[in-house]
Symmetry: C2
Amino acid sequence: MEIKEFYDYNKEIAKFKAAYALVEWDMRTKMPPKAAMDRSEVAGKLARTMFDMETSSKMAAFVEYFNRPKINEKLNEIDRRNVYLVTKEYRRISAIPPDKFEKFTIACSNGENVWQEAKAESNFSKFKPYLEEIVGYLKEFVEYYGYEENKYDALLEDYEPSMTTKDLNKIIAGLKAELVPFIKDLNSKGNAPDTSILKGNFDKNSQEKLSREVLDAMGYDFKGGRIDETVHPFTIGMGFGDVRITTNYHSDDMTSALFSTMHEGGHALYEQGVSEAYKWMPIHDGASMGIHESQSRTWENLVGRSRPFWNFFFPKLCEIFPQFKNVSSDEFYKAINLTKPSLIRIESDEVTYNLHIMVRFEIEEAIINDRIKVADLPDAWNEKMKAYLGIDVPDDAHGMLQDVHWSGGQLGYFPSYMLGNLYASQFFFTAKKEIPNLDSEIANGNLKVLREWQREKIHKFGALYDPKDLLIKVTGEPLNHKFFMNYVREKFSKIYF
Amino acid sequence: MEIKEFYDYNKEIAKFKAAYALVEWDMRTKMPPKAAMDRSEVAGKLARTMFDMETSSKMAAFVEYFNRPKINEKLNEIDRRNVYLVTKEYRRISAIPPDKFEKFTIACSNGENVWQEAKAESNFSKFKPYLEEIVGYLKEFVEYYGYEENKYDALLEDYEPSMTTKDLNKIIAGLKAELVPFIKDLNSKGNAPDTSILKGNFDKNSQEKLSREVLDAMGYDFKGGRIDETVHPFTIGMGFGDVRITTNYHSDDMTSALFSTMHEGGHALYEQGVSEAYKWMPIHDGASMGIHESQSRTWENLVGRSRPFWNFFFPKLCEIFPQFKNVSSDEFYKAINLTKPSLIRIESDEVTYNLHIMVRFEIEEAIINDRIKVADLPDAWNEKMKAYLGIDVPDDAHGMLQDVHWSGGQLGYFPSYMLGNLYASQFFFTAKKEIPNLDSEIANGNLKVLREWQREKIHKFGALYDPKDLLIKVTGEPLNHKFFMNYVREKFSKIYF
């Protein structure tokens, strides 16, 4: 058996993946409403085709052969990693009995529908039986997947490979101990910036122009992508040379689209930067959800909400939206950096965001390990929100019903968001060390110098390394919450005190 | 074996067809340029998947079983027609040895590339060997397909089922005898309208607005479709509830986009109007290329270039493009109805268009039957252009190299365009008989009355009937060129004399 056959077979799967991604992009951007029902069946057919290929006897033969020690040790680094990723995916997919997985898929599909209603009505009891069913399946799956120390590790693996609950608990303990009092200090003793200057009436075409300008400055390649409008912004890659992003323009607030464009642009730079030599391969992907999120957070927060960036970009903003000519760039910079404990994760700022994730992670981990029942979820949620963020949750719609993830069976996903923030600070610290005058480069609009650094250090490798190894390779040390704490402490102390 | 299994299997194929159509639409409208090479491979994979399913042993078993006389006679009309269409396709595809068909596909792909260069250089000798190879394959295929009277029939079948060369020769003889002298009369004795009033500078957004207004008036369902911009306008259906069109806005001439929108809109109304009960079935399609073209031509010419339509639409035009306020609707109507023998088919008017098709049909038919060699093609072309249109061809770029069809192996395609014109007149004659005051309905902007008639008489049946049968069912008689001749004679006599 030649490795070429293995690659050829995976390329065929990758072609269906590209078609599937296009169908998904179209469903969320261009598709006329009458097509929705039937197009889902088309997407389902493509997904099923991929599933069949990924679990075929042919795939089993590849997995068996290329994992024979004497064969495997002769593979080069890239081949071995591709075999590893395919093997992992094969074993995970084939671990679950197909009829059980199908039932789980249906439970999630129903769960999402009921969750929407339950959220609208703030009615947890409506959602409860569905969530119980979903959690029930996940507890079974955990046994099928297997784990070493903690059942939750088996779920984490899907989103952040080789990260464990133990690792997370350790990092969270350190972070929480510093972050919670820091936020209390900011809010009790600091001076919150005036955000009223951000209000206005912002024409959509001008907002789009602003989005395109910032993407261009970031080095996003429009010849290998495009930007469109959707309700929920996202980034989607569909094979080499096509990484598309979307954003959402709000007429009363231009910052929302701008920062979501920079966020999605950060994801897109990652995918555009993966080595062309890896195209059609399993490693033509990100290292993990957390590493992916670190790239988006870097551009959204560490660049987009930084003082140097607005030296460069404020004049451009004023050109497009002359209302800001009455404001100083410093007032604007402060206004976009309001930090305040709040109820809703996706509206929270970069300081408080991680606390929202801790609440979710701790609850998920307790549920999977049978320390909390689904029925007790709202109480657990509300207690933790009070303890970490100091706020009272008025109802479940603004509490544990706010996110879609659990209704879709995606337990284990949330930590990636926090990891993204932490990785981002740690990477950025290294970038500042390695790029002379990074701040002044950014202030001069030379953002591409950062993109080049990311490309050389992170992007081009795709999924060649495990996230843990990549982090050490780039920054010289394992994950450390100090980088994040130092960053927010320095930045927000200046703004608030 | 149950007919449901047959339908289920065909539905799976139809899902891949929908995905393929989306990939094609995206390639021509939205895809960033860097994705082009790899996306072709995705399209190729989907095409191959469909081919494999259409020629599988499972499909063979369906074809064998449902064509057994005792089984077939018990099927209802719809089931029998679906079985018939699938059987026909199965037999055609499996008639050609796969390796031969693959070589043909490559020859066409190379042919198209070389044709583009040859056309640019007006260099027939460059294209000649490629066309010879393509024609060579088609002559072989004709033998594999089989035919009764004329080899060309075997190619026609792909585009206009059950139409024969004999039928075409008969209809063309009658048409040519009347049309050629009529055109000579118009041009020697008539007064050509002044088209200078059509020139101007037309903003793209306003043209798009005009296109949307006309589609809306026609009854195009935007909830089941959309309009985008491309170089070459086209219509594409991708399953139930999604029929998209494109147009091309020229800044110096708004008529080009408007009439191409009405043309594509006519195609789209057809596909939007097929009975929902047929979705995912082989009969969820048009009856033939010619019938499809008749619907587009009806809206482009019989409505769009008619006097009543401009009673309704001229005020709307003037609202969007005030320059036309200096012109009368009658002057405008005449200007868009200039008829003049010209070199290029796709720029020709509704009177002379059919002559361009006759030239091509007669040459194709002679080539397949070995009465002309590929080497003699330019001479044959130029002679016929002189004889029918009375014009001299200055070079092959403006002669036999102008169309893409031959380079793609699509001999047998051209007659559909002419048939579309003829069907359109014959259908429209019946519509006028059956809809009281159709002209005044159109003049009042009530275009939907025509769409409803088309839907009830033509659209909803999809591919349930052969085009010949459909024509008789709707109009009460077989194809007759008199309807077209009467139409152009009456209309253009008024304009020119």
